[in-house]
Symmetry: C2
Subunit: 426 residues, 2 copies
């Protein structure tokens, strides 16, 4: 295989004809494959449901620390659940608030309350501010960006580096008092799988934003989600921030969506005691407590941190071959052509691919034509617009390996076709 960069125009035209034939042939197969979202596969769901739904045997199983989890009460959730998550996140149980089936909802609600009521150190509710700006490391998680876009904030793109967000740019941006917060996926970032370096975390934890109510949103979605190798420890961001006098700046989120079941797990929010005390008054108006039966079910099933990490190794055993299918295909089929680069993540749920600038949309349109659904082009950037039209998020978790192999073959052909079109000026 020759790099497209080194081909003559004629060679490219020959190659294009060949690739177009491959594409037609793939298209005629009428495939229906999906690599769009980070959905766990059926094998993972079955593995979990075997145990998760059989933990309640006797009436006593519904009682936790003297609390009947089936009745009203306990706004912050079961003490046992708070302890379990504190153990995972490295913070104190008193700093953990148990949510419902979606950490996204907790994040949305935190920001919604900042808008309607203001946070602990807000001079006023954000709806009374002239203008609110928000930092979005990109490529990043589309649902994060949409939350802050939905509230009308101005989204400011912060480039990602191999160590996390570009901290020079962040430190400059937070001098503006209108900049009220920032999204972060600190471990195995969505979509690149980047792990924030210790230095990046130190700089984030120690910054002094002009806004007194700056929200460092810390979505630790993949905190124990290794694909390969041993568990990678991560710092307790609450303690890091506290060390620099920023105890109330950070809100951390986690969930079991990719530990037990997506959409039927439990989530939590960790924050300083002062922040939780403030929010308690607001959340108490909204809900009596999130589902404590599901919390108890999770505590009985997951038991403790060690048992949890063991479960994650079983997930990895299912997921790693899928990720290798994707990266191996790209390494073999695309690398020699020098038309794209991609990540080889050690954890998380995505492979991030940078296609030749100006070809991501076209590539994904071709994929769609051939029956392969991918995350929309641009989704990983604020407002859904990738200025380079280059980034493509690949979600290998849902399809069985056989289907993945087909889907990635389609993607490879589409990458080649769109690159040749670009190079040939078609």
């Amino acid at each position: 295989m020759t790099s497209y960069r080194k081909m003559t125009r004629e060679e490219m035209q020959t190659e294009y004809a060949s690739v177009a034939r491959d594409f037609s042939s793939l298209k005629s197969r009428g495939l229906q494959l999906n690599m769009a979202r980070g959905k766990p596969g059926k094998e993972q769901l079955d593995m979990v449901s075997e145990g998760l739904f059989h933990v309640f045997a006797a009436p006593e199983d519904f009682v936790s620390g003297g609390v009947d989890c089936r009745n009203y009460g306990e706004l912050f959730g079961l003490a046992s659940a708070r302890r379990l998550f504190a153990d995972v996140l490295g913070c104190k149980p008193e700093q953990v608030f148990m949510g419902g089936n979606a950490s996204l909802q907790l994040m949305y609600d935190t920001i919604s309350k900042a808008v309607t009521h203001g946070m602990l150190h807000s001079p006023r509710p954000w709806c009374k501010e002239e203008h609110v700006k928000w930092l979005c490391p990109a490529p990043g998680y589309d649902r994060h960006f949409k939350v802050t876009e939905s509230f009308g904030f101005e989204l400011i793109t912060i480039p990602m580096t191999a160590d996390g967000p570009d901290m020079d740019k962040v430190e400059e941006a937070v001098k503006d008092p209108a900049v009220k917060g920032m999204w972060n996926v600190p471990k195995y970032s969505n979509p690149q799988g980047i792990v924030y370096s210790a230095e990046t975390i130190r700089r984030l934890a120690s910054m002094k934003p002009a806004a007194p109510d700056f929200l460092l949103m810390w979505d630790n979605a993949y905190c124990i989600h290794e694909l390969e190798g041993d568990f990678l420890p991560f710092p307790n961001i609450l303690a890091e921030c506290a060390e620099y006098g920023n105890a109330d700046m950070v809100f951390e989120y986690a969930s079991t969506s990719k530990i037990t079941l997506p959409g039927a797990g439990v989530s939590c929010m960790a924050a300083s005691e002062a922040n939780l005390e403030y929010l308690k008054k607001l959340i108490n108006v909204q809900i009596i407590s999130y589902d404590k039966v599901n919390q108890q079910r999770h505590v009985l099933y997951l038991r403790d941190r060690a048992h949890l990490l063991e479960l994650m190794r079983r997930h990895a055993a299912i997921l790693a071959p899928k990720f290798r299918t994707v990266t191996n295909a790209l390494d073999q089929e695309i690398a020699p052509l020098e038309i794209a680069s991609w990540t080889h993540p050690k954890g998380g749920y995505f492979v991030s691919l940078d296609a030749m600038p100006g070809t991501a949309k076209r590539t994904l349109a071709l994929c769609k034509e051939a029956g392969v659904t991918m995350t929309g082009a641009g989704a990983t950037f604020p407002y859904g617009v990738d200025p380079q039209d280059s980034n493509i998020r690949i979600a290998p978790s849902l399809p069985p390996v056989e289907e993945l192999r087909e889907a990635i073959a389609v993607l490879c052909v589409c990458l080649r076709m769109s690159a040749l079109e670009k190079l040939l000026g078609k």
Copy 2:
């Protein structure tokens, strides 16, 4: 027993000495009883959990209408769950949105979105309005009032009549464009157990509020919660409103908190297709879907409307004796004294008692002293202030009958004591 109204001052003083002795004796028993909140009792929880947590036997049980309820997707919830609730509420499945474990959260979120984004017919988000006012039929549900108070709305008390809210006052109030909505518990209202009359419902459904985005909040919390007698049919408020050209004015809420488990059930919101289409765009940013495994669990357990009503009869068999314990004690111990009046509800979760004006706070303080916790005085009025200091909400559902008997005996003594204090000018 002689009416306190007919006693001489000396007779009252003798009676007071006797009641004070009774009170001391009760106090010395060191009771710890609770009639504060409408919590179902353990017998109800056990009855439900026997079946609810054993519905998943095979992996196929997680699939509903081709959807694996364990994975992401289906923002509006499982079609089967939407059908079940539509059947209960008498509306169309397309008008039902499935929520999480708390209808309160859905109500809060509806209003929160009105504040941050505005509703379908809002000229602007409510946070951009100078002033928002809200109608609160009272006595009413304290958590409703707190939601609208939390958002800074001005709460306007609407007196309750035997037929529901005083409609003359409502019709007058909605001429003010700042009046943006109204709370309702149309069947077995909290705390009085009042069922809105057909005429009240017609007047509500047909009113023409000045605010184009007026929200008729219809909390059908006790829609199938009979204590005595047959199921009482109720009108489909969505259709009623639509008939008068007000299809988008009403949002209805229901939950299984008092059908299956409080805090671990499922909730729903019913609204016009246009309203749901509008909200879909906003909710889609907040959550991928609420817990569909719990929805499926409920569908498999509750099956259909007939089976659901059968379950409600079993709840009633547990609850009715508790309510009779309360009302019988009041009928026997307090009625002859002419110092209070109370409801004899046919459904719902509360008995509402009106003590002699100016004595509710004192009565409840005495109860507390004697070890009986009740809903705080004033809680049933906006801002927690009962202008008459008279209304007391009794929640008989949680304690076993034996404890209830003790608790209500304490309440009777405290009612007598505070009435005598008042009459004697102490």
